[in-house]
């Protein structure tokens, strides 16, 4: 069984569950982060804007109050440089050119009057001119030569000049980029961890279900006294196991009841049959002539009655899925060859040819005695009903986890009236003198093994019976490919 219980994780439903759960989890956290990111970005913007507006106002104030003498430019420039040092989110290290902040003052006429910042400020001034910047509401401008836009706040002085303070959004974007990178790293870690945890948990949960399935499949086919494993936890899986066990209990009782009835019936009928047969045999040893003839025919009747009784009970039990099997490895190829060897002379007497199409040994787990009796039924049928001069062909092949036995003849086929109900009890052709159990028995044996029997008429003529038998006793074991 060890090879059967081996459970390839790739086929587990745990994958699907974990994938979906992880996807939902990843999307959720991603959305939460997007919200957070948005909030942080806006907050940074707000802080920058507050700083820009404040500093621009201060600078405008300074510019207003400072006397317009030779020192004016230096004073304003120094104040502006000092302001640059207080830039929020400033990256202190690094030899980057100090282009993070610029200060620009225009005269009343609109000409550039004072510039503090990297370069000569012409590009910045052009960008400011093309944008409309009103005091009090900082605006983004794209400056030629700089990849990252500047945030610019304006302030007006009483003398008609304007103060522009620009702050590169580089630092703000850098902060956000770091935030994203860190989040992405953590997010990946969390998603992987989450996937791992969900996968491990579902697999553990499903392993209980798998054990239950295995046990149940084993129980259904062989041993009704066994029970599926239960756990002490009070969860759904444990409820499932308990419910299954409860159900098995009732099935076992019903089966036991059925077996008791069929056993009692068999016993009560077989005992008198044994006595009758024994007495007949004893009287046969001393009988002569016509008397012997009638005893012989009575003996034959007793044997037919016994066979009928056995088959009836087998069919009855099989219809209730209660036929008791004793499984062992059976090579269908070998069985068919022996059967053909046994029936060939009788068929040849009737001028019926028989052929076997098989690719060699094909072993299945089955009740050998029942398989023999089932095949004997089919051979008997052909022998009794196929008109002389026809041929019978057996084909044995393996199809997935099943062995397929196909019996074909080129005779008249099934009577259309009974073809549909062929596998029912008491259904037989008008010409048949059997008890109408043969095909029901064939179906019963196939079903008891977890297989099936089907029959149809061939075109242009002939009958075909296909019997599918599972190779292994537990076709629903989870490792079986389905």
């Amino acid at each position: 069984m060890s090879s059967k219980t081996a459970d390839p994780p790739l086929r587990s439903a745990a994958w699907r569950i974990s994938l979906w759960a992880t996807l939902a989890y990843a999307c959720g956290t991603m959305m939460a982060f997007a919200g957070l990111h948005n909030f942080v970005a806006r907050d940074l913007q707000r802080r920058n804007d507050a700083w820009l507006s404040g500093e621009a106002g201060t600078l405008a104030d300074v510019a207003e109050r400072t006397p317009k003498d030779a020192l004016y430019g230096r004073v304003v420039s120094e104040v502006a440089e000092l302001a640059e040092k207080e830039v929020p989110d400033r990256l202190l290290s690094g030899p980057t050119p100090d282009d993070a902040v610029f200060f620009l003052q225009t005269g009343a006429g609109g000409a550039m009057k004072l510039w503090v910042g990297a370069g000569n400020g012409r590009a910045n001034w052009q960008a400011i001119q093309s944008a409309v910047i009103t005091p009090g509401s900082p605006t983004d401008i794209d400056v030629k030569g700089f990849a990252i836009p500047y945030r610019v706040a304006a302030a007006a002085t009483n003398d008609g000049s304007r103060i522009y303070l620009g702050l590169s959004e580089r630092d703000q974007l850098r902060v956000l980029r770091h935030l994203r990178q860190r989040f992405l790293f953590l997010w990946l870690l969390l998603v992987l961890l989450g996937f791992g945890i969900v996968f491990a948990t579902t697999r553990r949960m499903l392993s209980h279900v798998r054990k239950i399935t295995q046990a149940a499949s084993r129980i259904g086919h062989s041993d009704l006294t066994a029970r599926v494993p239960t756990t002490n936890r009070n969860d759904e899986v444990s409820h499932l196991a308990h419910t299954l066990n409860h159900m098995l209990e009732r099935i076992e009782n019903a089966m036991h009841q059925l077996h008791t009835i069929t056993d009692a019936l068999a016993h009560d009928l077989r005992s008198p049959l044994t006595a009758i047969r024994g007495k007949l045999e004893m009287s046969l040893s001393t009988a002569h002539g016509g008397q012997a003839e009638s005893i012989v025919s009575a003996l034959e009747e007793v044997d037919r009655l016994t066979d009928f009784l056995n088959k009836s009970l087998d069919v009855a039990e099989a219809k209730a899925d209660a036929l008791r099997l004793i499984r062992s490895p059976v090579d269908l190829d070998e069985v068919l060859r022996i059967m053909i060897n046994l029936y060939e002379p009788s068929l040849a007497e009737k001028n019926i040819r028989i052929a076997l199409d098989s690719r060699g040994p094909l072993k299945i787990e089955a009740d050998e005695g029942l398989i023999h009796r089932m095949l004997a039924n089919l051979f008997d049928n052909e022998l009794k009903h196929l008109p002389p001069g026809h041929s019978v062909r057996w084909k044995l092949e393996s199809a997935g986890r099943s062995a397929l036995l196909t019996l074909e003849d080129d005779g008249p086929g099934f009577d259309p009236e009974i073809a549909a109900r062929l596998f029912e009890r008491r259904v037989k052709g008008n010409a048949s003198n059997g008890h109408g159990l043969g095909m029901a028995f064939v179906d019963a044996v196939a079903r008891a093994h977890g297989g099936s029997a089907t029959a149809c008429n061939r075109q242009p003529a002939g009958a075909r019976i296909v019997i599918a038998l599972p190779v292994s006793a537990f076709p629903f074991a989870p490792s079986a490919s389905r």
């Binding site: 049959l273 044994t274 024994g278 025919s297 003996l299 009970l313 060897n341 023999h372």
Partner: protein, 225 residues
């Protein structure tokens, strides 16, 4: 050969006792487990025939108790039940045999003989079988009658060998199917008869004394005298 028969149905017990005595056994019959135990304590039996459904106790229980008492003789279990109990299978593995009711007398006798043979020290296996003027070479798988080689198929040889090993005794169709083809089936056609018919055509030639006899309703017998 002393035989203990444990069977509660009087009718069956009666005909079994008569038939077994006719076959040469000295038969003591018990109607239930109690009396069987008493008999087994007083006498030494070579073989036992025990029905599973006894009125006072389970047949298997009786067999196990007899074994505990030191009874070592092989047991042929008779049963009218449908299912073969696991414990019966255990006994089968232990060297006992099992027969389902109803059965042919010939089969009962054959199984008893087998059980007794199994329990007696095995003689060296013969390589030749001889019945009247019929001779089988088991190593070369050849049969001859009156010195003349018979053209038999391998299957026919196995069938003839089985008949020869049971020469003088009746074998039923079920026994032939079981021993020659290895199948416990009950065909409602004459498959075995056709094989016998073919074999007879080869063994019993024109002008020769017919060896293979058909006993209608019972089976076949290979004459040994």
């Amino acid at each position: 050969m002393r035989l203990l028969l444990v069977e509660d149905e009087i009718d069956i017990q009666h005909f079994l006792k008569t038939s077994l005595e006719e076959a040469g056994y000295q038969v003591d019959a018990a109607i239930d487990g109690q009396s069987a135990q008493r008999l087994a304590a007083d006498h030494l039996y070579d073989i036992l025939v025990v029905d599973l459904g006894l009125p006072d106790q389970d047949g298997i229980g009786l067999i196990l108790r007899l074994r505990q008492m030191g009874v070592k003789a092989p047991v042929l279990i008779l049963s009218a039940r449908r299912s073969v109990d696991d414990r019966v299978r255990g006994l089968e593995q232990g060297g006992d045999d099992y027969l389902t009711k109803p059965f042919a007398l010939a089969e009962l006798l054959a199984r008893l003989r087998n059980l007794l043979k199994r329990n007696s020290p095995a003689g060296s296996e013969a390589t030749r079988l001889r019945v009247l003027d019929l001779e089988l070479d088991l190593l070369r798988r050849e049969a001859s009658r009156g010195g003349e080689l018979l053209q038999l198929t391998p299957q026919e040889f196995v069938l003839l060998e089985y008949l020869c090993r049971n020469a003088g005794r009746v074998v039923t169709r079920s026994m032939i199917l079981d021993k020659v083809w290895g199948m416990r089936i009950q065909p409602d056609t004459n498959v075995v008869d056709v094989h016998i018919y073919r074999l007879r055509g080869k063994v019993d030639g024109k002008g020769q004394q017919p060896l293979i006899r058909t006993l209608r309703g019972v089976g076949y017998v290979l004459k040994d005298r």
